[in-house]
């Protein structure tokens, strides 16, 4: 007893905070949903949900917004994981939004379904009557996100209003919404990219294989490496070549870049991440490069 120092490592502090946030949402909102992309951050969210609610079931379903341009490895991983957890999965399909005329597909070699996802997401939230949606966004990712609350209020158009955010004090979260409105909730707001990787290593979590170095057919555009896939048109002068790459983030195949790497194990990846000099979104996400406030603008519209 005397020898106890009650020390808690920073990862355990972050974990306890995230679990507290998830339980608050479960207790105070009627119809939450957990947004799962197959990426490492939402994988950590799923894992935290098991810590928050087991041996009970999750008091919410898991939802994947499927752009139709996903990495096949990620879809396969998603289905296996959800089956193992024995939880409910909802798939909201961007293809269906296109087919039903809700959105129009962009055309040309730089076409992406990234922006279309917002409509599919908001439609699915409305259709199912969700009043809270967990996301894996982190404040260290991007400067608009650095300003966002853990409980981020969205009006009935799904819009984020950065200048009128609810004050958020102590660990007292205000998730009150009217019908049609919802909150986005980010339990791992205070985690850094390195925290996520260290946590995955400590907890021994399985990741989709594209996070580790593998041989892939790629081409170079705007200084980034993109996978050759049926979803991307090559432009003049773009020559496919094979390289050893891994992904630092997982998104749509048309706008997620790979990094050259030979890191094949979790430990090697963590070492590379710790040594990197470029942010993950800067290195691998074309969607953030449009304007100086690209993320702020998309978030205002209701993006993740």
């Amino acid at each position: 007893m005397q020898a106890m120092t009650y020390e808690v490592s920073h990862l355990r502090v972050l974990e306890a905070e995230a679990i507290h946030i998830m339980r608050e949402v479960a207790a105070e909102l009627e119809h939450p949903v957990l947004l799962f992309s197959g990426g490492k951050d939402s994988l950590v969210l799923l894992h935290l949900a098991t810590k928050a609610f087991r041996p009970g079931r999750f008091p919410f379903p898991v939802m994947h917004v499927d752009t139709g341009h996903n990495f096949p490895e990620v879809l396969e991983f998603r289905d296996r994981l959800i089956a193992r957890l024995d939880e409910r999965l909802i798939v909201a399909s961007v293809q269906e939004s296109i087919d039903s005329g809700r959105v129009a597909e962009e055309t040309g070699p730089r076409a992406s379904r990234n922006r279309l996802q917002t409509v599919t997401l908001l439609d699915a939230i409305a259709e199912h009557g969700f009043d809270a949606a967990f996301g894996g966004a982190r404040r260290d990712e991007e400067r608009a996100r650095a300003k966002e609350r853990v409980f981020s209020f969205r009006d009935d158009f799904g819009q984020w209003e950065p200048k009128a955010q609810r004050p958020e004090l102590w660990s007292l979260y205000n998730g009150r919404v009217r019908k049609g409105e919802h909150v986005r909730v980010f339990p791992i707001s205070n985690w850094t990219e390195l925290d996520v990787w260290q946590y995955i290593a400590e907890e021994g979590l399985e990741l989709p294989p594209i996070y580790f170095a593998h041989r892939r057919e790629v081409f170079r555009r705007d200084g980034m490496l993109y996978a050759v896939s049926p979803f991307v048109e090559l432009m003049d002068g773009e020559e496919p070549f094979e390289a050893s790459v891994r992904y630092r983030t997982v998104g749509d195949m048309s706008c997620t870049g790979a990094v050259e790497s030979t890191a094949a194990s979790l430990e090697q990846v963590v070492d590379e991440i710790a040594a990197t000099r470029i942010t993950e979104r800067g290195e691998t996400r074309a969607d953030d490069r449009v304007t100086e406030a690209a993320m702020e603008d998309r978030k205002r519209e209701g993006y993740f």
Binding site: M4, Y6, E7, V8, S9, H10, R12, V13, L14, A16, E17, I19, H20, R23, E24, A26, A27, T50, K51, A52, F53, R54, P55, G56, R57, R139, D140, R143, A144, A146, K147, P162, K163, Q165, P167, E168, L169, W170, S171, L172, N174, R176, R178, S189, N190, T192, L194, D195, Q198, E202, V270, A274, A275, R277, I278, T279, G282, E283, E292, E296
Partner: protein, 450 residues
């Protein structure tokens, strides 16, 4: 800009597993060099990535700033960059081999006091910037007062721009004396003064050779070594129940776990406990964490408790000890920081959220409004406007299980919500509570199923 962007003074990859976490808030206006100081900390601990720096350089050039404006790193919203001010709290992250840090970068302007209160509410330490040329100004006092009101245990005054006063020891000593005299009223246990030049990096990461008369630590050294372990309350056992886990599956048919985050104190398997507000007594049968069990739980862990007897426990209840538990009350006195345009007035009715309990509250009395710059109490005040702070007496629709904020930042704090807009309109810190009628503790009848 000088600085070791590439070489290896600090390497976060090694020895990180045992490191702990320090949350600190910074306050100061743009002119105090707050953004430069944060930029300097991030830069020298290699947290600014090449693409971020490139972006800031390019934007600075385009705006014609004439220098690499590190404030652009911390100001995240379009409106903030346009106006060159910080409006809302931004959170920043950096690490050294000793610690992980979360910075709540808060705006200094009086108009954004509520945002500073927000950032300060979870901080272990506050850094208040003072411009060496201007000395202690109204704003410095306000920032120190808010830090003390929120009971941030450690306060650091960074006397910045020492380069512009020729690194003069007398300037620093004068500011130190002035604040020390005044801060005695503030009831902050740990105050540190550090002379710095954020622009040149003096005493930010390394001790400065320009101020040989200063014998204290650099800011980073202080942040890395300040002792925060004993800031936690490990005495008063408080476990607000958040969520009841009842799987009702074949495998876990009788499982009934009470999930929550330990607010304070320690809990061990076998400990006798009392459940409030019912007053029923029982013992802790087991403490579950992540599929396994632990012998002892302490703050800030999130755990699930199983009790020996089948007692009725639900969200909003609190598990504590029979001889040390909070006062169940419907009458309380509190300091409130007001955060809405529509003022707080006597007879105003709001929703109140305290730990995991929700109730309604009516403002019985506004005792006084405090002038955040002079600490003067205005007892004739009839309302609290946006960003104003005052002492109120509240009556609640249901008993709350409260401690004084000075003793417990978790069970001593609450928020007020306007039920017509659903906005968070007030932040409250409990000063004292009147004891409500308390049921006689009774031992739960063992084995009485229902």
């Amino acid at each position: 800009m000088p600085g070791p962007a590439g070489n290896g003074r600090i390497d976060v990859t090694r020895g990180h597993r045992a490191s702990d976490l320090l949350r600190f808030a910074t306050a100061g206006s743009v002119d105090d060099g707050k953004s430069t100081l944060i930029g300097r900390l991030l830069y020298e601990t290699k947290q600014i990535f090449a693409d971020q720096l490139e972006h800031v350089e390019e934007t600075s050039r385009r705006r014609g700033d004439g220098y690499v404006n590190l404030a652009l790193l911390t100001d995240g919203l379009r409106a903030e960059r346009e106006q060159g001010i910080t409006i809302d709290v931004a959170y920043r992250y950096f690490a050294t081999p000793r610690r992980k840090f979360i910075i709540a970068d808060t705006p200094g302007h009086e108009q954004y006091t509520r945002n500073m209160v927000t950032g300060a509410s979870t901080a272990d330490l506050a850094v208040v910037l003072i411009d060496a040329r201007k000395g202690v100004v109204e704003q410095s006092r306000r920032h120190a007062f808010i830090a003390s009101l929120l009971r941030i245990p450690h306060l650091v005054f960074c006397v910045n721009k020492m380069d512009l006063v020729d690194y003069d020891e007398e300037v620093f000593e004068r500011i130190d004396e002035e604040i020390s005299g005044w801060a005695a009223k503030l009831d902050v246990s740990d105050i540190t003064f550090i002379p710095v030049s954020a622009l040149n990096g003096d005493n930010v990461v390394e001790r400065s050779e320009n101020m040989p008369w200063y014998c204290g630590p650099s800011l980073l050294y202080h942040l890395e070594h300040v002792h925060i372990g004993s800031d936690r309350n490990l005495i008063d056992a408080r476990f607000p129940v958040q969520w009841v886990i009842r799987p009702m599956s074949d495998e876990h048919h009788d499982y009934r776990g009470y999930a929550g985050q330990i607010a304070s104190g320690t809990f061990r398997t076998g400990d006798p406990v009392i459940v409030l507000p019912s007053g029923r007594q029982t013992r802790i049968a087991r403490i579950d964490v992540d599929g396994g069990t632990v012998e002892e739980a302490f703050p800030p862990l999130s755990v699930t408790m199983l009790l020996e007897d089948e007692v009725d426990v639900s969200r909003g209840d609190m598990i504590c000890r029979a001889h040390n538990h909070p006062v169940p009350t419907q009458e309380l006195d509190a300091m409130v920081c007001w955060m809405a345009d529509a003022p707080l007035q006597a007879r105003g009715r709001y929703a109140i959220k305290h730990t995991t309990r929700n109730a309604r509250a009516v403002v019985e009395d506004l005792r006084y409004r405090i002038d955040v710059n002079t600490l003067h109490r205005d007892e004739s005040a009839a309302a609290l406007g946006l960003n104003e702070i005052g002492r109120v007496h509240l009556r609640t629709s249901a008993p709350l299980l409260v401690d004084e904020y000075r003793r417990n930042r978790t069970t001593g704090s609450f928020i007020l919500i306007d039920e017509s807009t659903n906005s968070t309109v007030g932040a409250g810190m409990i000063l004292s509570a009147e004891r409500a009628e308390h049921p006689e503790p009774e031992r739960a009848a063992t084995g009485s199923g229902h």
